[in-house]
């Protein structure tokens, strides 16, 4: 391994960790707002009768934004699990290529989701949500944004782990 590839891998690892750190905090904030939003709904329904109609709709969209953004954090930590029965028994050299194939295929999937997700958002600017009349583009945008983040993280962890595999062939890919 050359020094240059080490530098690239280190850069990819740090970038992935930093991006995940930031997105995690955004997710935590969204979840916190979500909790307060549903509490407000409970309060309005059972305790103080307030004419609040937005809480349910807001809750659904906050939840979707939170969960989809968190998908990229799961990628950064390689937390999305699969059936690794066969994978674990592969020789390290083959494992490296299988992992690369998995990452590239997943990258293609999220790239498609991003590309066609932009269309979805575009259509969403012309339709409006049931209760509050917001343009649907707002919730729909969670799909391409999350897909783009997923692509970036997949590329970063692929670089990180490919170089790591090159250095210590016996290494697992789990961060």
């Amino acid at each position: 391994m050359t020094g240059a590839s080490h530098k690239i891998a280190a850069f990819a690892a740090t970038s992935s960790a930093k991006l995940s750190w930031l997105v995690e905090r955004v997710c935590a904030l969204l979840l916190l707002v979500l909790v307060f939003d549903v509490w407000l709904g409970v309060l309005a329904r059972y305790i103080i009768p307030l004419p609040l109609t937005f809480t349910e709709e807001a809750a659904r969209y906050l939840m979707i934004w939170m969960a989809l953004l968190a998908v990229s954090c799961g990628i950064a930590h390689r937390e999305h699990i699969g059936v690794e029965l066969l994978y674990e028994r592969l020789p390290p050299r083959m494992r490296r290529w299988v992992l690369l194939a998995i990452d590239l295929l997943a990258l293609t999937f999220f790239a498609l989701l991003f590309w066609y997700g932009l269309d979805l958002v575009d259509r969403g600017t012309r339709s409006f949500t049931m209760i509050y009349g917001l343009p649907k583009a707002l919730p729909f945008a969670a799909v391409p944004v999350a897909a783009a983040l997923a692509c970036v993280q997949l590329a970063l962890v692929a670089i990180r782990d490919q170089v790591r595999f090159g250095v210590e062939p016996g290494a697992g890919a789990i961060a």
């Binding site: 995690e24 549903v38 329904r45 939170m66 998908v71 674990e88 299988v98 295929l105 997943a106």
Partner: protein, 430 residues
């Protein structure tokens, strides 16, 4: 059709995460319909629509409430209470492990959470007292599936949301089966106690000890009462009840026990978001594949195939259970549920099953697959937490597995067992 199946199983086999596999197989399916990728453009919409359900909110909230309760040391208190009740028996710690699983079930909705919490604390304690580690792991694995059988349960929220079955009804129907699993597994422990020469502690049960342990764990025992009371009483929706559970857990953990700092809160919010992200990716991706299946009328084809073999309800139920347990052997249970519920749900209606009864049966079959070797998720969690080998755990596991399959068969063919409590609360029949 063949292409989608090949993609699906091929990618699954090489170890690609389930959430990605479902999405890619779904996109391949949409592409194979034709129209020059016109259908592929639908993928993001299906992806989004798969998540756009209000009851799903209950999932992150129950996860968060469980995280908070766990962090405030509530698990230990529950174990102490269970130990005060049954710890004096031969194999006492195994019995109290099982009983604690029931108590813990009321605050958690996922089996892996139970397996991780008990694998960290109870298994080492049992080993110290002289239990073999594989046996301690097997008891924990067997008990962990009580968590998602007794409400709240993530799987029941998913099933109820996508199938339009009352989540409250499913929750109520899960109580007796969960208790039955506990009872039968405790019978297994009692039967094995002499043969395996399980340790016997010296302590005598004292009423005062029981009362003190009860008082210490009261705050944890009250939570399921609040959750279930609200939902089963028809007062709150599951989502609202789950948000109240978060509030309650914060008050107990933060103010009463003072066990949670702001830093902890941030950690728990992040952990909850990440766990939710993992489950929701599977749900969203599965709904792309699910749409393709519906478009090709595959659920109807599978149902017709089943009914062509036999129209006798006894046989059909048997085939359904077999299918679920075989697929559960190697598939993530959330994904299996989302893909198979629309196939099996209508089939159970056709043979005259109550939707709540059918739902609980399907969910229990999937839960049992969580602890079947080679790839049961609970076994994996336990193996990684305790360092024990899965093969070794599996050897100690089979008596419990037999007991739980017996419960499943009882549930499947004796509907009163599940429907008794929902009927009592007027929640049966969807």
């Amino acid at each position: 059709m063949t292409l989608v199946l090949l993609t699906f199983f091929g990618l699954l086999l090489i170890g690609m995460p389930v959430g990605f596999v479902l999405g890619i197989a779904g996109v391949v399916g949409l592409w194979s319909i034709g129209g020059g990728g016109r259908f592929v453009a639908m993928a993001p919409e299906r992806f989004f629509a798969g998540l756009d359900l209000f009851p799903f909110l209950a999932m992150p909230f129950f996860i968060l409430a469980g995280e908070i309760m766990n962090r405030s040391g509530i698990t230990d208190r529950l174990v102490k209470f269970a130990d005060a009740l049954v710890g004096y028996l031969r194999g006492g710690m195994a019995h109290s492990n099982m009983l604690a699983s029931v108590l813990f079930a009321g605050i958690t909705g996922a089996a892996t959470a139970d397996a991780a919490a008990f694998g960290n604390t109870l298994v080492p304690a049992m080993v110290k007292q002289g239990y073999s580690r594989p046996f301690a792991c097997a008891v924990t694995a067997a008990g962990s599936i009580i968590g998602p059988t007794i409400p709240p349960s993530t799987l029941m929220i998913i099933y109820g949301s996508i199938m339009g079955v009352s989540i409250g009804g499913l929750f109520a129907a899960g109580i007796l089966p969960g208790l039955l699993i506990c009872l039968l597994c405790m019978a297994v422990i009692a039967a094995l106690a002499r043969r395996l020469n399980l340790p016997k502690s010296q302590q005598r049960p004292s009423l005062r000890g029981i009362l003190r342990a009860f008082r210490d764990s009261l705050s944890a025992i009250v939570l399921p009462v609040i959750i279930l009371g609200g939902i089963l009483g028809g007062i709150t929706t599951p989502t609202e009840a789950a948000s109240i559970a978060v509030f309650y857990a914060l008050v107990v953990g933060g103010l009463l026990y003072r066990a949670i700092s702001w830093r902890d809160l941030l950690d728990m919010l992040i952990r909850t978001a990440r766990i939710t992200g993992i489950i929701f990716l599977i749900i969203a991706s599965a709904s792309i594949l699910g749409w393709w299946m519906t478009f090709n009328k595959i659920p109807q084809a599978i149902a017709a195939g089943f009914l062509a073999v036999s129209t006798d309800p006894t046989m059909v139920i048997g085939m359904i259970l077999l299918l679920l347990m075989v697929i559960g052997l190697f598939m993530d249970i959330n994904a299996t549920l989302i893909i198979l519920a629309p196939v099996l749900g209508p089939l159970t209606l056709q043979i005259g099953m109550d939707p709540v009864h059918a739902g609980v049966m399907i969910i229990l079959a999937l839960n049992i697959s969580l602890m079947t070797p080679p790839v049961g998720a609970c076994l994996f969690v336990l193996a990684s937490v305790t360092g024990e080998r899965i093969e070794a755990i599996a050897k100690s596991l089979w008596p419990f597995l037999v007991a739980e399959i017996a419960v499943l068969i009882m549930i499947a063919y004796w509907s009163d067992l599940t429907l008794f409590i929902p009927r009592l609360l007027d929640l049966a029949g969807g």
